[in-house]
């Protein structure tokens, strides 16, 4: 293996976790925010208010998810945190019987 090739492989190896984090931040963050906006329907309030609360809060969830993804030590932890956060939201969304309509 030439030096240049080694260098390329090395670069790709190092870029892997970074790309993983970018996907977690943009894609995973959006999914988490969307899930939170559906989970908000479980809140004890009138339906239109619950829908709007979910929409209003979703961008804060998204921002928090992106910060989390880049703040933690490894890409694995980044994904793990998103999944842990998704569990209660999924339960809430499931409780209103609308998981099928979620993205």
């Amino acid at each position: 293996m030439t030096y240049a090739m080694k260098h390329m492989w090395g670069a790709a190896w190092r870029a892997g976790p970074l790309i993983s984090r970018i996907v977690a931040a943009i894609g995973g963050g959006y999914l988490l925010a969307a899930l939170a906006s559906v989970a908000a329907l479980a809140l004890p309030m009138a339906r239109p208010q619950a829908v709007l609360t979910g929409m209003l809060a979703s961008f804060a969830v998204y921002t928090g998810a992106v910060i989390w993804v880049f703040a933690v030590r490894s890409a694995w932890r980044a994904w793990g945190g998103l999944l842990v956060a998704a569990v209660p939201l999924l339960l809430a969304a499931w409780s209103v019987g609308s998981v099928g309509a979620a993205p």
């Binding site: 309030m45 979910g54 929409m55 209003l56 921002t63 910060i67």
Partner: protein, 543 residues
């Protein structure tokens, strides 16, 4: 984000990287969104200046009489239409802007609309030049141009999300945020840029955070439709949600039984009694002349910091009040307040200026952030005479998107004054002129050395801005001296502001051309270059 060999980088380092790269990726579009959004606080005034044929008037006709008069006129020009809507004149808008749904069979299968502007006193259509007005900057700032509207809005939303992330990560990066606010090191190269960026950011931080979040809220139903889709299955159910968001009434099915409209002025007077004489915003009439006619009279934007729907709904044949909508649920009201905070229409003139100035500081925050990316990296270039491709790309795009945008926006106003009045598709051409100027600025930035390009484009923008009042004097009958003499503060204020902005660009041009980039001390620079980028940055922050 580079993984260190020994241990992972600290939180402030990762947040700093996140701030830098999310800022850079969306910075150019964000700068354009911020600047065009900033001038949109004076959208109505820009529109007035771009229609010089509409004479300045000091008197304010009574909105109730105006509504009656325009409804009569719409009965002639929009007969058979199932829906009329008019925006009544207010302090900043002396004419009646009206649109109506085209009757079935005309336009796009009942989905087409037509619009016209009416004189509130004569009730006649006003003859002004065809122009897109200040509406262009307003639309551009959240949906851009030359692309489908929805794509543009998604792109703007993506950038706004990155802005939000850049703000939060920027705050985490910047530990000593308040002590540093009082630190300013003039003429110290990168340090000055950093201090300027910090001061602009901290000064306006609550505003920037608010404006970014509320910007996302204005289009949240587009970005986050999932809760709505899960909660509502049919359009009829969805009506429950729409009623919380919008005062716009849709036409019901016409009965076919002709009944004349009840007096509109009496309905508007009921609105005036509730909200004040000049605070009726919009009158919408559905199925006029039919037994199923409805009239909604909507509250204006002034004197309340909320965009939540407040309106009176009348039976259009008897004039009977059917419903007085004056409140919405708590989440809907939160959304209404956030929407209003973004638009800033609730305030009076000083409030509008405050919005304009702080928002301009936000624009400068994005701009200085973009410039800092190159300033920081110039010191680490191997050979400063021949920078690598990425550096040159950012540098050129910075010039075209910052200085070039000023040139393009001034060029757009020139297009309004110079394009032939009888030209076909004049409105579209005004916008083409804007992009033609911007493209020229990009070409110029690519061809010229970076510093020369900055200076020349600032001078070009200054000249274009400074000469615009002369264009008004030559090509319209509204020269500055006449505006001043008549106390027409929209026209006079606009043109004096153009000179102030020209002065700002002269200042930028002079400062840029006098600027001496710090001489590289060979030994120190060499030592720095040997350090990994992260270490050099950390050193810098440890000061």
């Amino acid at each position: 984000m580079t993984q260190g060999a020994s241990k992972a980088p600290g939180i402030r380092q990762t947040m700093s990287d996140l701030h830098t790269w999310s800022g850079l990726l969306c910075g150019w579009l964000l700068y354009a969104m911020f600047l065009t959004g900033t001038v949109s606080y004076f959208k109505d005034e820009i529109s007035q200046w771009m229609r010089p044929e509409l004479q300045h008037r000091a008197d304010r006709p009574d909105p109730a009489e105006v509504a009656q008069r325009i409804a009569g006129e719409l009965g002639r020009v929009a007969a058979g239409s199932p829906q009329w809507s008019m925006r009544l004149p207010d302090e900043r808008h002396a004419t009646v802007s009206s649109f109506w749904r085209l009757p079935r069979g005309e336009g796009r299968g009942g989905r087409g609309f037509a619009d016209a502007t009416f004189d509130p006193v004569t009730g006649q259509k006003v003859a002004a030049r065809e122009t897109v007005g200040g509406e262009f900057f307003y639309r551009f700032h959240f949906q851009f141009h030359y692309m489908p509207v929805l794509w543009g809005r998604w792109l703007a939303g993506f950038c706004a999300m990155f802005m939000l992330v850049a703000i939060v990560s920027g705050v985490i990066t910047h530990k000593k945020i308040f002590t540093d606010f009082f630190t300013f090191r003039w003429g110290k190269g990168q340090r000055s840029w950093l201090d300027a960026h910090n001061a602009l950011s901290v000064f306006g931080l609550p505003f920037h955070l608010m404006i970014t979040y509320t910007g996302l809220v204005t289009l949240m139903a587009l970005y986050m439709p999932w809760g709505e889709q899960a909660a509502y299955k049919t359009p009829a159910q969805r009506q429950e949600l729409t009623a919380e968001l919008s005062a716009f009434i849709q036409p019901a099915k016409a009965t076919g039984q002709a009944v004349p409209l009840a007096p509109i002025d009496a309905m508007v007077r009921q609105g005036q009694a509730r909200w004040g004489q000049y605070n009726v915003g919009r009158v919408t009439i559905t199925n006029p002349g039919d037994a199923s006619a409805r009239v909604s009279v909507t509250r204006g934007d002034a004197a309340r910091a909320s965009m939540s729907p407040q309106y009176l709904l009348f039976d259009g044949t008897s004039g009977e009040l059917l419903q007085a909508k004056d409140s919405v649920g708590p989440a809907a009201e939160t959304r209404g307040v956030m929407y209003a905070l973004h638009l800033g229409r609730f305030g009076d003139l000083p409030m509008r200026w405050l919005y304009f100035i702080v928002s301009l500081a936000g624009t400068a925050m994005v701009g200085t952030g973009l410039v800092m990316w190159t300033v920081k990296r110039r010191q680490k270039l191997g050979d400063p005479a021949r920078p690598h491709f990425g550096f040159r790309l950012v540098e050129k795009l910075n010039i075209a998107s910052i200085a070039g945008l000023s040139v393009a926006m001034a060029g757009f106003l020139w297009g309004n004054r110079l394009l032939p009045l009888e030209m076909a598709g004049r409105t579209a051409w005004e916008v083409h002129v804007f992009f033609a100027f911007w493209a020229l600025a990009l070409l110029h930035a690519l061809l010229r050395p970076a510093r020369r390009a900055w200076v020349e484009q600032f001078w070009a923008a200054a000249a274009l801005l400074a000469l615009l009042p002369l264009a008004s004097a030559f090509f319209t009958d509204r020269p500055l001296w006449r505006s001043l003499a008549e106390g027409d503060w929209v026209f006079a204020g606009f043109e004096l502001m153009l000179w102030l902005l020209a002065g700002l660009h002269v200042w930028l041009a002079v400062r840029t051309s006098r600027h001496q980039p710090p001489r590289r001390k060979v030994s120190q620079a060499g030592a720095r270059a040997a350090l990994p980028a992260g270490v050099a940055l950390a050193e810098e922050r440890a000061r």
